[in-house]
């Protein structure tokens, strides 16, 4: 079996107040594969995503143990220089709130150019590269709009801009932390569609963090369910959705409202049964 692109082994992350946000989890992502990590708020999924390239603020986080292997190299043991090489070039991020995740005082083009100049010094004409990548994510009039500032973009466009920025250096792994949570439903569908398209076109892998099972099936090959810092179930998306084995997964799937359902109350999770 070929070496997985990313392999997380026995990762545990403890916070200053004694809380174990991530409790001995292991998972892996193969080349070209999309893994979705699903869980409710506080399950530890965002913390996991940030920990991959040591982006966790510490304090309040405190002890990180285990191994995060990128193509066999342990990122947790890597020094600053090595980690910075991985960030942006091999592993790229998009975050939940594009309006605050983009620097308001620099233009979109400038922020994309930053990452290009950093990781691809061979590119002499940054502007055309910027325009190319903006076109790739569906931002029209890129030749003019790259000079615009984030506040001049709508929410959906801002998220596309973030995706463009993430893709500028053709990363092998895209980590998307709740990329659609802050957007309305129709834009959500567009963004997920875009991500799927990009994954097919470029063959990159993806780690999708979400609490919404609804977007998982449109995008992820495999899904891992997190609950209180542990992975309680993992498998191919279709399999998990059709035959959930863990009671928590069952409960999560049951929570998704179905069109045409005749119900008076929405289903909630009864934690005592898990």
């Amino acid at each position: 079996m070929t070496q997985p692109l990313l392999e997380v082994k026995n990762l545990s992350i403890q916070f200053q107040d004694g809380n174990r946000a991530v409790d001995d989890i292991s998972f892996s992502i193969a080349d070209g594969e999309a893994l979705a990590v699903v869980g409710e708020s506080g399950s530890g999924k965002s913390v996991t995503a940030l920990a991959l390239t040591k982006l966790l603020p510490a304090p309040p986080a405190c002890a990180v143990s285990g191994g995060i292997f990128w193509r066999g190299k342990n990122l947790l043991a890597a020094d600053n220089e090595a980690i910075r090489q991985v960030r942006g070039r091999d592993i790229a991020y998009i975050f939940q709130e594009p309006s605050t995740s983009l620097n308001p005082v620099f233009s979109i083009g400038h922020q994309i150019a930053e990452v290009i100049k950093l990781h691809r010094p061979d590119i002499t004409d940054a502007t055309s590269e910027i325009v190319r990548v903006m076109n790739l994510v569906g931002i029209r009039n890129a030749e003019r709009r790259h000079r615009d500032y984030p506040h001049q973009f709508s929410g959906g466009m801002q998220q596309r801009a973030m995706i463009a920025m993430a893709l500028a250096c053709r990363p092998k792994l895209l980590v998307a932390d709740e990329p659609t949570t802050a957007l309305d439903v129709t834009i959500q569908a567009q963004i997920i569609g875009l991500l799927r398209e990009l994954k097919q076109k470029t063959g990159m892998s993806a780690l999708l963090i979400t609490h919404n099972f609804g977007i998982v099936s449109g995008f992820a090959d495999r899904v891992a369910v997190m609950f209180h810092g542990k992975i309680v179930e993992e498998g191919a998306t279709r399999e998990v959705l059709k035959n959930p084995r863990h009671p928590y997964t069952k409960a999560l799937i049951d929570c998704i409202p179905q069109l045409g359902q005749k119900k008076e109350r929405l289903t909630t999770i009864d934690y005592s049964k898990i």
Binding site: V86, R87, R89, T100, S101, V105
Partner: protein, 735 residues
């Protein structure tokens, strides 16, 4: 952009008009008029005086005079100065550039030092660098400007490295232009350093706070995730954003600079606008005063405008997003409203029976009642916050220290007459500038050395051998009233007459410094508390109502605060003090100063409270309360107040130093507490004579030390409170 600038300029015009109206009115309250100086000069004939009186309409009511002045001013004629014997415009043109140079230099210095230090302190928050820098910043602003200036001047005279005041050397007219410029810079060095020092401290704290805000922003995580180095993330991404709120505070800083310049220019004999204005006040040269204040205000308005322009240039959201608050037609009406309000108030004030004693008694009673009400309000608002916070505060080392220091000082202040060996006016002209009397342990009892004056001309004393006298406890001294009610005569310590126990030496008339310090503490310490009570209550009432009600009330209040804030602080202080002086006798100066300081202080608080109210108002629980039918007043007190109470407590703590230092500055200028009362500011100003420096009467500076301790303590306490109450500021590192 251009549109934005033009809008702001148009708004400045009514602002200036109302300011001039206000100042004109204030000056009209002060006794005498600007021709007094002329009248005193014998070479000016009666007829000329009469003619001038008619020309300036001095017999006409003040609003007519104002109209005349305005008309002339619009044409550029600001009148003639009888004290300087030149036209006012000429005088201003001469002096203004000097002050501008001073202000610009200080600002540049403050930025150069404070910006990088503030950033570093934020990045390494909690480290020894951060603590040291923060402490140094607080220390720098805990001393009154004039004190720092005096020390600098003393240093200049002793070391000879810098000129002792002035703008140019005597022979500078003969210098070539290059050398002239260098000479100018050499003279500018110390004043800029002194003025900028306070600026550095304030700038540093603001920069640190802003930067801390930015460090936690999400775009910082994004920048890191892109692989950028920490240096680039901090100094390019975060810094660019941190500078924006900082630029906004520039206008305010400029006001502080102009006020500070007044004192610094006085001490360094630097011929700028500040020195001019102050002399003009002293000599009742009203034409000059008016024109100076107008100029100072104009400079401030332009400074604010420049700051706003810089902000728009720096922040694309403002530049391209909306250009600031929309220029609604409503704004013009609100300006007219404010102008009408000011005129009405001024008129009403003039018509009041100021001469009648009855009226004054009623007014004082009303004032006392309002003060009591304000006190009740403050306690009601602060109690829930304090009850929670003080135990937590006491557990932290710095919190415990500051609280103990304050408790000790206020405790001593309450018991001042008991602890003080003598009353504050107890003179002894045979023992002027006496050094502290040393205690000795002899023959099994505590004794005090006595001294002999060996050289009257330089006040040198030598201890008398075997001349020790016993120190007595619980002696009978001059009668007093403890806490103002209990009549007693017992004093804690004393010695038998004719000897004097000078624990901290004596001053120029032989009065015990220690006693005066204690009595003075009653003034200096309670001034802060009372002033802050007034400011907080007034600020809350007006600010919260303004934010909650909105509409025209809000508009008018905002314009009012803008007007008050666009007059440089110390200028307004002095104007008010002059205007109201004749209504208070010397024992009531304390009240006058509190009133004057509070009048300026409430505006800043009101604006911030308004902002906080606006954001709280939008919260759902306010809507819920409204739909339940709760009255607005009740919502204000039961819902909004608790949410902003913690800010009130913090800002009250940080505002007290301002009162203490403000009183010190006023007393230094001779406009504050008067003899024979004691206050730390007054005592310090009496120590400013050169002979004190030269002959080394160091004990006369103890009031300065105490002031420094109290102010620093309050500042540090406020900082601790803020750390406790605002959980945003916690340390950050990368794993």
């Amino acid at each position: 952009m251009i549109e934005y600038v033009i809008r702001r300029l148009i708004v400045s015009v009514p602002m200036l008009l109302v300011v001039t109206l206000l100042v004109f009115f204030l000056m009209s309250l002060a006794p005498g008029d600007f021709l007094d100086t002329a009248r005193m000069q014998r070479d000016i004939s009666e007829e000329t005086i009469h003619r001038l009186e008619q020309e300036y309409g001095l017999d006409k009511p003040w609003h007519v005079q104002y109209g005349r002045w305005l008309g002339k001013a619009a044409a550029g004629d600001f009148g003639y100065s009888w004290t300087y014997k030149v036209s006012v415009s000429e005088l201003l043109a001469q002096r203004a550039p000097a002050t501008l140079g001073l202000a610009a230099g200080s600002l540049a210095l403050a930025w150069l030092i404070a910006l990088p230090l503030g950033v570093l302190a934020a990045i390494y928050k909690g480290s020894w660098l951060d603590r040291f820098v923060s402490l140094a910043a607080y220390a720098a602003i805990s001393l009154p400007d004039f004190f720092i200036a005096l020390i600098a001047l003393f240093f200049a005279s002793v070391s000879g490295m810098f000129p002792v005041g002035g703008l140019t050397s005597i022979t500078s007219d003969f210098f070539p232009p290059g050398q002239k410029f260098a000479d100018y810079l050499w003279h500018l060095a110390l004043p800029v350093l002194v003025l900028g020092l306070g600026g550095v401290a304030g700038t540093l704290r603001v920069m640190r706070a802003n930067f801390l805000d930015q460090i936690r922003a999400e775009y910082v995580t994004t920048a890191r995730a892109k692989g950028l180095s920490e240096f680039v993330v901090m100094f390019k991404h975060a810094l660019r954003n941190a500078v924006n709120p900082f630029i906004t505070s520039l206008g305010f800083a400029f006001s502080g600079l102009l006020s500070g310049a007044l004192i610094v220019e006085n001490i360094f004999n630097y011929p700028g606008l500040g020195q001019l204005t102050f002399n003009a006040f002293l000599r009742q040269d009203k034409q000059l005063v008016l024109a100076s204040v107008v100029l100072g205000t104009t400079m401030l308005i332009i400074g604010n405008l420049l700051a706003d322009i810089f902000l728009a240039l720096s922040d694309p959201r403002i530049r391209l997003g909306g250009g600031g608050p929309a220029f609604r037609r409503r704004q013009i009406w609100s300006w007219l409203g404010v102008a009408a309000l000011t005129v009405t108030v001024c008129y009403a004030l003039r018509f009041m029976p100021w001469e009648s004693g009855d009226f004054w008694r009623q007014l004082k009673l009303a004032g006392a009642l309002m003060l009591a009400g304000a006190g009740v309000f403050v306690i009601y608002a602060a109690w829930p916050v304090l009850r929670q916070i003080v135990p937590r505060l006491a557990r932290r080392p710095l919190g415990a220290v500051t609280l103990s220091v304050l408790a000790l000082l206020y405790g001593c202040s309450l018991l001042a007459p008991f602890l003080a060996p003598y009353s504050s006016s107890d003179q002894d002209l045979t023992k002027t500038f006496h050094p502290p009397t040393a205690p000795v342990w002899k023959d099994g009892a505590l004794r005090m050395r006595t001294y002999r004056n060996v050289d009257r001309s330089i006040a040198r004393y030598e201890p008398v051998a075997d001349g020790e006298v016993p120190v007595r406890f619980f002696t009978k001294g001059a009668p007093y009233k403890l806490l103002g009610v209990i009549p007693l005569r017992t004093r804690l310590v004393g010695v038998d007459a004719p000897h004097k126990l000078y624990l901290m030496g004596s001053d120029s008339t032989g009065r015990d410094v220690f006693s005066r310090l204690l009595y003075g503490s009653q003034v200096s310490l309670t001034l802060g508390l009372i002033g802050v009570t007034i400011t907080m209550s007034l600020g809350f009432l007006i600010g919260a109502l303004s934010g909650y009600l909105g509409g025209s009330f809000d508009n008018i209040v905002m314009r009012l605060t803008e007007i008050i804030m666009c007059i440089p602080g110390l200028y307004l202080l002095i104007a008010l003090r002059f205007a109201l002086y004749k209504f208070f006798d010397s024992s009531e100066m304390f009240v006058l100063i509190v009133v004057v300081l509070s009048f300026i202080g409430w505006t800043g608080t009101a604006r911030v409270i308004r902002g906080m109210t606006l954001s709280v108002r939008q919260r759902a629980f306010i809507l819920a309360a409204e739909t339940m039918g709760q009255s607005r007043l009740k919502i204000l007190f039961k819902h909004i107040l608790p949410n902003i109470a913690s800010y009130l407590v913090i800002s009250a703590t940080m505002a007290i130093p301002g009162y203490i230092l403000g009183e010190a500055s006023l007393s230094f200028l001779g406009l504050g507490i008067m003899e024979p009362s004691a206050s730390w500011g007054l005592m310090l100003s009496q120590a400013q004579e050169m002979k004190v420096f030269m002959l080394g009467f160091a004990w006369l500076f103890i009031p300065g030390l105490l002031m420094f301790i109290v102010v620093l303590t309050f500042n540090l306490l406020g900082d601790e409170l803020r750390d406790l109450i605002d959980p945003k500021f916690k340390t950050e590192n990368r794993l």
